[in-house]
């Protein structure tokens, strides 16, 4: 019998790792991966509660999240390719035109 907190701790840890990754890394692809990490940590919470509460909805949401994640990955990576094609870099420090 595993206490529910352990699942949540695991999820929290992965989430924070993802956050740190998003902030510190400058390679757009790695930042993207960190985001996937955060998504998965959220998924874990959904599944955990679904299982503990005996409610199937959480798992269905996870299913949808995965689909969205897949879509997002496809589009996001395409954007990264497009940016790379234009600027020949995926270093986020150099992609800073979104300002005044």
């Amino acid at each position: 019998m595993i206490p529910i907190e352990h699942y949540l701790f695991l999820s929290s840890f992965m989430f924070v790792t993802g956050v740190v990754g998003v902030i510190t890394r400058r390679n757009a692809i790695v930042v993207f991966m960190s985001i996937e990490l955060m998504l998965n940590s959220a998924n874990l919470v959904f599944v955990t509660f679904s299982s503990y509460l005996g409610n199937v909805t959480g798992q269905l949401v996870v299913f949808f999240v995965m689909a969205v994640a897949a879509a997002e990955a496809a589009v996001g990576l395409a954007i990264i390719i497009a940016i790379f094609r234009n600027k020949l870099t995926v270093n986020l420090d150099e992609i800073n035109i979104l300002k005044w």
């Binding site: 956050v19 902030i23 986020l92 800073n96 979104l98 300002k99």
Partner: protein, 646 residues
């Protein structure tokens, strides 16, 4: 017949519409001229018919109002388009349409070949329309419509040759000046009208005058009304201080000067004062103001007229001077005499202008009298008629000017005192002098024009016949107003005719002590003698001893220049009023207040916000990860908040 009065107004309007809209298509000058003159001619005939119809009625019943339709109605304010037929209005209508018709006919010849021929006749008809409204109106607002309407026509006709130069500026400038100065007067008229409405709750002559007669209204109110109305009159009738537009109005074609700026429109102010005589009679102070202003204008303009060299300018200042006479008459309570003078003046001044036009026509548009001379052998009809007019205006019996002018002088002596008579008589003398200066320099002596290039010739019949008609009127016009000392009690026809109109006013005026017939005859003799002397002196100076005039001007160079430059009034107005207003509007109101302060404040507010925002937006670095840090910090704070609330 009286019901047809509206036709006298409508016909000129129809003439205007036909000539104005179809004129360029018609092209045929004869057709245009006949339409224009015909409209006025028929109006004259109708007026004449109504006149005789009135004549056939007892004096007390000669008053009719013909209402056409309701014009403005709000609450208690009810203004109809309605025409009033009474002795005064029908007399004026006869003068306007009669002289108007003659001048229309004359214009056919004078304007021959002008590219704006149709336009000219359209404007003239429009003028007659407006003038008839002014005269026949049965309420102040309709009168004001005519009042402004004649101002408009004056504007259009002064600026008729809009591409020509006139003196130092353009005809368009003169036209604008006329309209604007008139407007200043109209402003006064409007205010006077408002006070009338406020006091009497009506703007219809009948109702207002009926209430005036009832009394109970303080004199100060009447003073105010009369003063503001008089401001309107000074604008329209070219009195001090608003006379400045009339000399410039000579920029228009000569028939216009004759019709509008001598015979009819400029007398509108006199007519208005006569029409509201009851109000003036209730405001004796303002009556005195009117008399003084009239007198001052008379002598002031006459003195300027002494030295002018432009034939039309002399006549213009003479007109101003004569108008001053009319106001003097109004001011001293001689309403009948004033209107009488309006009528005779219309005859002889129109005559003088038309004759001057004929001279100008024959002299190839030359207007400087120093370049005339000896014209009587080239244009005999013009010469004779002009002489008739000059004698008439000088007040030599039995020409018409004598009767009306002398009546005025007599009343100013009887009602206002010797000083008024004296100044009036001096003015009469000056008038005789400058008229015969003009006459002598133009028609007598040696020709001073370039005989090779200028070939003076008499004008065609269409122009001379009107001259003859007016000359006859100038001679006999005075006989309807023979003073009672000659014709016996009740022998003054025009006085009898106008008596019903002025009776209320006369009954309000204080009666002065009786004067003997001897006094009257003595004064008359003195003034006639003075005029005759002035005529002789003028002929002597300008025909025999030209050196006197020159040496006089050299002896008093300051005075001469002052007179020649018309007392520098125009310049003073320009310096003191016009250019400061323009400068303040341009430099202070617009470029400073409007652009810098008001709009500057608006734009400053916007730019302040903008500069503040441009500081804030620096936070937007464009580095997405920086935003992420901020977001996480936000999460930290949010969590702490949740923890604290647990």
């Amino acid at each position: 017949m009286i019901d047809l009065i509206y036709l006298t107004v409508l016909l000129p309007l129809i003439g205007f519409a036909i000539n104005g809209l179809l004129g360029p298509k018609i092209k045929n000058e004869k057709v245009i001229g006949v339409i224009g003159s015909g409209a006025v001619g028929i109006s004259f005939l109708i007026s004449l018919g109504i006149f005789f119809e009135l004549l056939g009625k007892p004096a007390a019943e000669r008053h009719f109002i013909v209402n056409l339709f309701q014009w403005i109605k709000v609450d208690y304010l009810n203004i109809p388009i309605g025409y009033q037929v009474d002795p005064l209005s029908i007399l004026m209508a006869l003068v306007v349409t009669g002289v108007g018709f003659v001048i229309h006919v004359y214009s056919i010849g004078y304007m021959h070949g002008d590219k704006g021929f149709w336009r000219f006749f359209a404007y003239l008809n429009l003028f007659i329309f407006a003038m008839m409204n002014l005269i026949l109106a049965d309420n102040f607002v309709l009168l004001f419509l005519g009042w402004e309407g004649v101002g408009l026509c004056s504007y259009l006709l002064i600026g008729f040759w809009y591409d020509r130069k006139f003196e130092n500026s353009t005809t368009a400038d003169a036209a604008k000046k006329a309209f604007v100065v008139n407007r200043i007067g109209d402003f006064g008229f409007l205010i006077g009208m408002f006070i009338i409405y406020l006091t009497f709750n009506s703007l219809r002559f009948e109702e207002v005058f009926a209430q005036v007669k009832l009394g109970g209204i303080p004199e100060s109110t009447f003073n105010m009304i009369a003063l503001f109305l008089f401001i309107g009159a000074t604008g329209k009738s070219a009195q001090i201080p608003l006379y400045v537009w009339l000399p410039d109005a000579m920029a228009g074609p000569t028939p216009v000067s004759a019709l509008i700026h001598a015979a009819t429109m400029v007398t509108a102010g006199v007519y208005m004062v006569a029409r509201t005589s009851v109000i003036y009679a209730s405001a004796p102070t303002i009556m005195m103001v009117v008399a003084v202003v009239g007198l001052l204008t008379a002598i002031f303009a006459a003195s300027i007229g002494l030295v002018q060299n432009d034939i039309k300018k002399v006549l213009a200042y003479s007109t101003v001077s004569q108008l001053g006479y009319m106001f003097l008459a109004m001011g001293v309570g001689a309403f009948t005499a004033g209107i009488f003078h309006v009528m005779t003046h219309a005859f002889f001044k129109a005559l003088l202008f038309l004759a001057a036009g004929s001279v100008i026509h024959g002299m190839h548009e030359e207007q400087n009298i120093q370049k005339y001379g000896g014209l009587k052998k080239y244009m005999p009809v013009t010469y004779l008629t002009f002489l008739t007019g000059a004698i008439a205006i000088s007040g030599i019996p039995p020409f018409s000017g004598f009767f009306s002018k002398d009546e005025i002088l007599w009343y100013s002596y009887a009602n206002a005192g010797f000083a008024f008579w004296l100044v009036g008589a001096i003015t009469a003398m000056l008038t005789a002098f400058y008229m015969f200066r003009l006459y002598s320099l133009t028609f007598e002596g040696e020709g001073r024009f370039d005989h090779h290039h200028v070939h003076p010739h008499e004008s065609p019949k269409v122009m001379t016949v009107p001259l003859i008609v007016l000359a006859i009127l100038s001679v006999i016009g005075g006989f309807i107003g023979i003073p009672e000392i000659f014709s016996g009690s009740g022998g003054n026809q025009i006085k009898n005719w106008l008596d019903p109109v002025f009776k209320p006013a006369n009954s309000l005026l204080a009666k002065h002590g009786a004067h003997s017939h001897f006094e009257e005859i003595l004064l008359m003799a003195v003034s006639v003698a003075a005029a005759a002397g002035a005529i002789y002196f003028a002929r002597f100076v300008y025909l025999k001893r030209k050196d006197i005039a020159e040496s006089a001007s050299l002896k008093f160079p300051g005075l001469y220049r002052l007179l020649f430059n018309k007392y520098l009034i125009d310049e003073a107005y320009d310096k003191a009023i016009i250019s400061p207003i323009v400068k303040v509007s341009d430099g202070f109101l617009w470029k400073f207040t409007d652009v810098k302060i008001i709009d500057g404040l608006v734009n400053k507010t916007a730019s302040l916000i903008e500069s503040f925002a441009s500081q804030i937006r620096k936070m937007q670095t464009g580095v997405a990860q920086f935003y992420a840090v901020i977001m996480v910090l936000g999460i930290v704070i949010a969590f702490f908040w949740i923890m604290a609330s647990l």
